[in-house]
C-alpha cells in the first residue's frame, strides 16, 4: 500500500519533467523543423493544394491547439500516422524497437557486467600492475571515438582487408546464427567503448566503499577477502551502480543505437529517428520524444524502488 502510494506520488511529480521535455521539443519541431508541405506536393501546386496539404499535416492550426493535441496523444499513447510513409506510428515502433533491443541488449549487458568485473579486479589489486594495466586500458577505451571503433571493427572483422567473418552491414535475421552474425560487430564496438567509462566509474565507486571504516574493521577481524568483497563492498556499491545502469536505459532504448544503426543500415528505432529528424516527420518525433520522457520518469521511479531493495535504511518518503 505504501509502495502504491509512493509510486503514484512519484509519477505525478514526473509530470513537470514530461511537460518540459515535450514543450521544448515541440517548439523546436514546429517552428524550426523541416517543412514537409512541398515534399508531399507535385510540381506547380495551386494555392488550394498547398492549403489542403498543410491542413492534412495540421500545420494550419494554432500552436497551443497542436501542443494540447500532442499531450492528448501522449496520454493515450497513440501518435497517429507517419507523415512520410503513412504507417501507423505505433506499428512502426512495434516493428523497430524489438530490432534495436535485440541489437543493443548483448552489448549493454556485457559492457556493464565486464565493467563491474574489471573494476573489482582493479580495486582488489589496487595500485599494483594489474590495476594500472586495467586502468590504462580504460583510458585508451575512453579516448577512441565510438565512430572510429565502429569503422575499425568493421574493417577488421567484416571486410576483405581483415578477417572477413561477419556480414559488412545490414540486418536480415531469420535464425539464431544470423542473429549472432549480424549482432557481433556492433556488440564488440559497443562493449569496447562502454567498457572504458564503466570500468573507471565502477572502480572509483568500489574503491570508495573499500576505504570505509567498517571494511577496515571487518578486515581486522579476519573476514576473508572474497567474502568481504562480495558482502561488504559490492553490495554497498550497488546504489551508484544501479543508478548508472537504470538511467542509461531510456537513451539506449530510444536513441543510443542511432550511430550504429545509421552506419550499419539496421532498420531499428535509431535509424527511424534519424530519418525523421532529417525529413521532419513530426508524428514519429513526437512519439520518440514522448516515450523517452516517460521512460526517464519510470527510470527514476525504478531506481528509488531498487534502492530500497538493496538498502533497507532507505525509506520511500
Amino acid at each position: 500500500m505504501e509502495l502504491l502510494q509512493y509510486t503514484i506520488r512519484k509519477l505525478v511529480s514526473g509530470i513537470p519533467l514530461i511537460l518540459g521535455v515535450t514543450l521544448i521539443s515541440f517548439v523546436l519541431m514546429v517552428y524550426f523543423g523541416p517543412d514537409k508541405t512541398y515534399e508531399l506536393l507535385g510540381k506547380n501546386p495551386t494555392q488550394e493544394q498547398i492549403q489542403e496539404v498543410r491542413a492534412q499535416l495540421g500545420y494550419d492550426r494554432p500552436f497551443f491547439v497542436r501542443y494540447a493535441d500532442y499531450l492528448r496523444e501522449l496520454a493515450v499513447l497513440d501518435f497517429g500516422n507517419s507523415d512520410s510513409t503513412g504507417e501507423r506510428v505505433n506499428a512502426l515502433l512495434a516493428r523497430t524497437i524489438p530490432i534495436s533491443l535485440a541489437l543493443v541488449t548483448p552489448g549493454f549487458i556485457l559492457g556493464n557486467v565486464l565493467g563491474v568485473v574489471l573494476a573489482l579486479f582493479a580495486a582488489f589489486y589496487r595500485s599494483t600492475w594489474v590495476d594500472k594495466a586495467i586502468m590504462s586500458f580504460a583510458v585508451v577505451g575512453m579516448s577512441i571515438s565510438f565512430l572510429i571503433v565502429i569503422i575499425a571493427f568493421q574493417i577488421i572483422f567484416a571486410s576483405s582487408y581483415g578477417l572477413d567473418i561477419f556480414p559488412v552491414r545490414g540486418w536480415s535475421v531469420n535464425s539464431i546464427s544470423d542473429y549472432v552474425a549480424y549482432v557481433s560487430v556492433p556488440t564488440m564496438a559497443m562493449v569496447f567503448v562502454a567498457l572504458g567509462y564503466n570500468t573507471r566509474f565502477y572502480r572509483s565507486v568500489i574503491v570508495e566503499e573499500m576505504t570505509r571504516d567498517h571494511v577496515r574493521t571487518a578486515r581486522a577481524f579476519g573476514v576473508p577477502s572474497a567474502k568481504l568483497f562480495y558482502k561488504n563492498i559490492l553490495k554497498n556499491s550497488l546504489i551508484p551502480i544501479i543508478t548508472r545502469i537504470v538511467f542509461s536505459i531510456p537513451l539506449v532504448v530510444i536513441s543510443g543505437s542511432l550511430l550504429i544503426e545509421t552506419y550499419f543500415g539496421i532498420p531499428g528505432i535509431g535509424k527511424v529517428t534519424y530519418d525523421s529528424i532529417i525529413t521532419g516527420d513530426q508524428p514519429v518525433l513526437k512519439a520518440v520524444v514522448g516515450w523517452t520522457a516517460v521512460l526517464f520518469v519510470l527510470a527514476q521511479l525504478m531506481t528509488d524502488i531498487l534502492y530500497r531493495a538493496v538498502d533497507p535504511r532507505v525509506s520511500l518518503k
Binding site: P16, V21, L28, S127, I148
Partner: protein, 304 residues
Amino acid sequence: MSAAPEAQAIGDVGAIGQTVYKRRESIWSKALYKFRHDRTGMLAFAIVVAYSVIAIGVWLGWFASDWADVTGGKWETASSGHWFGTNIIGQDIFSRAIYSTSTAFEVGLVVALLSTLIGALLGSLAGFFSGGWLDEIVLWMMGVLDSIPFYLFVAAIVFAMQDSAYSMHVAMIATFWTTAGRIVRGEVIKLRGLEYVEAAHAIGVPELTIIFRHILPNTSHILLVQATITFVAAIKSEVILSFLGLGVKDGMSWGLMIAESTKEILSGFFNNFLAASVLMFGLVMAFNLFADALQDALDPRKVH
C-alpha cells in the same frame, strides 16, 4: 615533501599580532607542486601544448592554409610531397588533418568555457537558494535538458539556426552545462553551511556578493577540472555530429574526413580514416590524461 617548510610560518609577528607568512600556500600552489611531479600528467600536458601550437598556427595562417586546394592526383599514397597521401579529388590529407585540429580546439574551447560558465552561474544560484523556487526551476531545467535525446536536440537546433556555423556549439552548450551545474550546486550547498559564510551574512554582506565573491571562487578548482572534461566531450561529439551531417559545414573537421573515408575504406584506401583517427586519438588521449592529472592535483574528492 619539499613543500612543507614553505608552508610553515616564518615567525614574524606583526605589530597588530598577526603572524606574517613569507609565502602563502594555496590549493593552487599545492596543486602545481603535485602536478609537476606527475610524470604522465606532464607528458600529457606537453602533448596538449603541442596540439595547441598547431591550432594557433593554423589560426594565424602558418600551416595548412592550402587544405582546400587540389595539389595532387586521386588517392596518392604517402610521399614527401603529401605526407599522408591525397584524397579522392587530390587534396592533401595531411593539411586537412592538421587544419581539423584547429576546428577541434575551437569547438572544444568555446563549448567548455561557456558551458562551465553557465553551469557555475546557475548551479551556484540553485545551490545557495536550494529548496527555494529558483532551485526548483534550475533543477527542472537540468532534468528536462538531460531527458531530451541528444542527437534530436542537436538536429532541431541545427535546423532552427539554419546556416549558422555555431548551431552545433549552441546545442552542445545547452546540454553540457547541466553536469557542471549539478556539481557546483552540490558543492555550494556544502560551502553555504560553513562559518565564514555565516560570518559574511552576520556583517550584512549582500547575498549575491556572498555567492559570487565568497563561495563561487572556492569551487574554481572543480570548475577547471570540469572544463577539461567538457573539452574532451565536445571534441568527441563534434566528430560524430559532423559525421552525421549535423556539425561543421564550411571548414574541415576530423568527423568530415571520417565521413569522406567511409566511401573509400571498402575499396582499400585508408589514409583519410587513419590520419583523422590517429590525430584525434592523440589529442583526446592526451587531454584525458591531462584532465586526470589535474583532477588528482586539484579535486580532493577524487578516489585513487
